[in-house]
Subunit: 141 residues, 2 copies
DNA sequence: GTGATTGCAAATCTTTTGCACTAAA
DNA sequence: TTTAGTGCAAAAGATTTGCAATCAC
């Protein structure tokens, strides 16, 4: 039955599509990242999940892999806290809520958020991306 | 002539206002930061300036001071790159251009930029701040 | 005086790198 | 077989911390 292999095949195709050799750890990490819903992970987090899932992988390789995936357009890096990188599996144009208390990062639902009167880029430059981070704190703080 | 002491007095008042004891290095750093136009500095940068200006101060103290100033509302921290903090002397509500090539951070001129259809904060939370970072790259990249 | 502040060095934390080893094509 | 990828440990960079010495009040 081929059905059981579909998630595996999807991950494989994704790597092929990005021109990345499908090694054991890249496949395993791709499955952790892309099966299921969109997610926001740190390298440390993903490494923990990989270890729990009996995928032998070092933290250094997780970092390398996340950077390769990002360069290949499979992931997007989101910077919200100094000294910590989040990687977002949703690479489409969208923005984020950041819960300062817990360190959680979430997509802002809907695609309604828009920016008015964005100034044009200074001469000699163009806009690569616009990031909007809505920082949330616990009520009553 | 008291005129010559005005910048010193302004820095002193600012520290008093924030409830911070006006030590030599806090005064010196405050003058570097707040005399002149608004600026965006990293700890490393400011430390370099202090040393050039013959203000004896260690990098650790620069970090501590920047954090104290931020906690006191004299500065605002802007996060644009993983692993690097910028401190902005303009604490009013505004947004930023970030030049990815050079690492320069600039205020977006004018106060016209506005956000449309911002979703309400999830239950139990409130919006602490909205950061907009417009990432620029050199033309033709 | 006395409690806050500083300097320094060491510690911490995140991320990257060098290199011998292993696995994919 | 040949080249890319991995693991590990070490390096690197940014920031924080512990503690004795120093300074503001």
């Amino acid at each position: 039955m081929t059905t059981a292999h579909r998630p595996f095949k999807r991950a494989l195709d994704r790597l092929h599509g990005a021109g990345l050799r499908p090694t054991r750890q890249r496949l395993g990490l791709a499955r952790l990242l892309f099966e299921g819903c969109d997610r926001h992970v740190t390298a440390e987090q993903l490494h923990g999940e990989a270890v729990s899932a009996d995928l032998p992988v070092s933290l250094a390789t997780v970092y390398n892999t996340l950077n390769q995936f990002t360069a290949a357009g499979l992931l997007r890096e989101v910077v919200v806290e100094a000294g910590k990188s989040y990687f977002d599996t949703n690479t489409s144009d969208h923005h984020h809520f950041f819960l300062e208390n817990t360190g959680r990062l979430e997509d802002i639902p809907g695609d309604h958020l828009a920016i008015q009167n964005l100034p044009s880029a200074p001469t000699g430059t163009r806009i690569a991306r616009v990031d909007v981070i809505v920082r949330l704190v616990e009520d009553g703080e």
